[in-house]
Symmetry: C2
């Protein structure tokens, strides 16, 4: 028989589907692609332009009505990142609680965000407007922390997915500790799984020694998981 897709001949053992199912599947694929195009246009429509960092000369324009300031250690003077209260409120329940109440931040129109660099804060705000960002590992890590703090679930999941795709033998222990601290379950599982694949070299690693110093309970959890796996995969006698 001839395959309608790759146009090559195949025998009985290599049979895939009948014609009807093939045609149905092709239609489904077309439909799914159309749905993707529709959703992409919808995303493009819903994106907002992040506020310009330039001084706004026209006071009647839709000027941002809130400022976010990165306050890092050591303190440095970085420019504030402007934003609209309506956007902050819509993206984060923490901002909502803060800005819809009579809290200091709401009255002053400004919030200081500690332990974050200007670049990360700017990317964070940018993401709240556009749902777009070019991540590297450091940025994903910094943004995940910020997204967790302000409960921007979608951004947190996005960063976690990125970090999970980058877990390797070298960074597994660090990622394991990080995932623990920030409730990143998917990342945690990926890291633990890699660590367990390399138990023989574990105790020699400097990150391991550091973790034993800093947070031995996390190390205990690794051993518990390892033991559990051994018990479950041991051949039954």
């Amino acid at each position: 028989m001839w395959c309608q897709s790759c146009r090559e001949e195949y025998g009985e053992v290599d049979a895939g589907t009948c014609k009807e199912c093939y045609e149905e599947a092709s239609e489904t694929e077309e439909e799914l692609k159309r749905e993707i195009e529709d959703l992409k246009s919808k995303v493009a429509f819903l994106r907002l332009s992040p506020p310009s960092l330039e001084l706004n000369l026209s006071p009647s324009a839709s000027a941002p009505d809130f400022l976010l300031v990165a306050s890092s250690h050591p303190p440095s003077s970085t420019p504030a990142v402007p934003a609209h209260r309506a956007v902050l409120i819509s993206r984060s329940p923490v901002f909502r609680a803060m800005l819809e109440s009579d809290m200091e931040e709401s009255r002053s129109g400004m919030i200081k965000i500690s332990d974050v660099s200007y670049d990360v804060l700017r990317s964070f705000v940018n993401y709240l407007y556009t749902a777009e960002i070019l991540l590297d590992e450091q940025m994903a890590c910094d943004l995940l922390v910020l997204a967790e703090k302000y409960q921007v679930k979608y951004l947190k999941a996005f960063c976690e997915k990125f970090m999970t795709s980058k877990v390797n033998n070298e960074n597994a222990i660090i990622n394991y500790a990080f995932a623990h601290r920030h409730n990143a379950k998917q990342l945690l599982e990926a890291a633990v799984s890699l660590i367990m694949d390399n138990m023989s070299t574990l105790v020699e690693r400097s990150e391991y020694k550091e973790l034993v110093e800093k947070d031995p309970r996390l190390v205990v959890e690794i051993y518990e998981a390892y033991l559990n796996k051994q018990v479950n995969t041991a051949p039954k006698i």
Copy 2:
């Protein structure tokens, strides 16, 4: 052979694809579905909550800073629809030009929109925040007009798609004239195609007679399209 999809037997003439292509197609389908889920979450993230129509008691909240008022004929007193300048500017180049300049509307913080009902205006503003709406034919028609006026391309396309799906013999002429007036190419083509399928009864229709009265050039265009089709599909001698 057995079809891997429907699990039924098939013969050589009903052969669809080989196993490899079937498996590849299944994987592609899974990937497309995952992409759709991702895009749906992105849409949910990017949606904004439309401003409440209730009086806002907390002045520090992210109160809307602009009002849209439906001014219909005959004039009636309807409540204004509140919105944020930042959202209006981001969704419509017309609002952008209006609000980023020193135009009357920008200074007064209010715009009167003529020939539109309160319900349509409210749905329009709602859509600008959420990209969500439940359409019926009248609403699609009214919103398409508004979307064209304010150059909200995505909403116009959405309404046009809906209207195109509803074109039938009864409303083809009305939709044809409407599509002409509002540059709705897809709707125009669907309507013309249906009109040409029913040329024998065309002149008896009351909408036809009305159109001849009101805008005979549009009627001429129908005949020209019809003639053109006849010439092109006539058997060559």
